[in-house]
Symmetry: C2
Subunit: 169 residues, 2 copies
């Protein structure tokens, strides 16, 4: 019988969503407690370092996911055009067409940038290296636009423009 009660790793996707929705400062422990269904005692049992350790764990998992699903395929594919096409699909799904914020990008804008500087820098540096500054920036800007205009199509249009631009090269 699998346990219903979460293990530490089960909490990470929930934590990630809370941080994305409310930012690091806005993600209070009571919000986190409600979202995970765990009391503060349990949270501190899993994350003795408190909120900062939670955010670091979340960043690690995000980093792992992008390394596996985005960065490595881009770097190692023998057919770059296929890898790039797959990346656009992955990214579109991951960010829910721009309705879901990029936590790493949001941390870069806030005053939490210094606290998580190393992780943030490494994530973006590897993405840019594997692809192109222009495209990574374009994706981040498209998220801002889609959220600001409250229109996911702004995200999809941007991705499609970049797909076409890259195909023509």
């Amino acid at each position: 019988m699998p346990r219903i009660v979460a293990e530490r790793s089960d909490t990470l996707p929930v934590l990630a969503e809370v941080f994305r929705e409310h930012g690091y400062e806005g993600a209070s422990l009571s919000l986190i407690s409600k979202a995970t269904g765990l009391g503060k005692g349990s949270l501190y049992h899993f994350f003795p370092g408190g909120k900062e350790e939670m955010a670091e764990a979340v960043l690690s998992e995000i980093d792992l996911w992008f390394e596996d699903h985005v960065f490595a395929p881009l770097r190692e594919s023998s057919r770059p055009e296929n890898a790039i096409a797959a990346m656009f699909d992955s990214v579109d799904g991951y960010f829910h067409s721009g309705q879901r914020v990029c936590l790493v990008g949001a941390l870069a804008l806030g005053d939490t940038r210094d606290r998580f500087a190393r992780a943030v820098k490494s994530y973006f540096a590897r993405w840019v290296d594997a692809l192109a500054e222009e495209v990574v920036g374009g994706i981040q800007g498209a998220i801002v636009l889609a959220r600001a205009l409250d229109d996911p199509r702004a995200f999809s249009r941007t991705l499609n423009r970049m797909r076409l631009t890259l195909e023509k090269r």
Copy 2:
């Protein structure tokens, strides 16, 4: 003799910088008090609505600045290519080559988006209308990248790429 003590409007640039640096949630009244040199009593005298009214006043001033210096010139110039070149210079200066965050964009990413939705949407809608989704998104993404990589050149490079792209049309 001009007064040294600030009028309400004199506080706005200071408030703007505090919000940019710490975000809406992170900009506590004690930080604001320290930055402006005004006690809480004075702050509430100028902004009876508290922090929310301060942020709205700041957004209004930002909106006015962009309307005057960016949106209107783009819309009304008889020489679009000159207006666009001037816009890139304005934007590069305003955002300190990506070291200074776009408050409106940052609000769009956070959970404060709903609170200021109308102002945020209007700002970006007018910018996109006067220019191009692609370029506005590119600028926002370039700020994220420059901050994440801690490298203002990432911002300048992006702007230069867009300058060239637009010239070729």
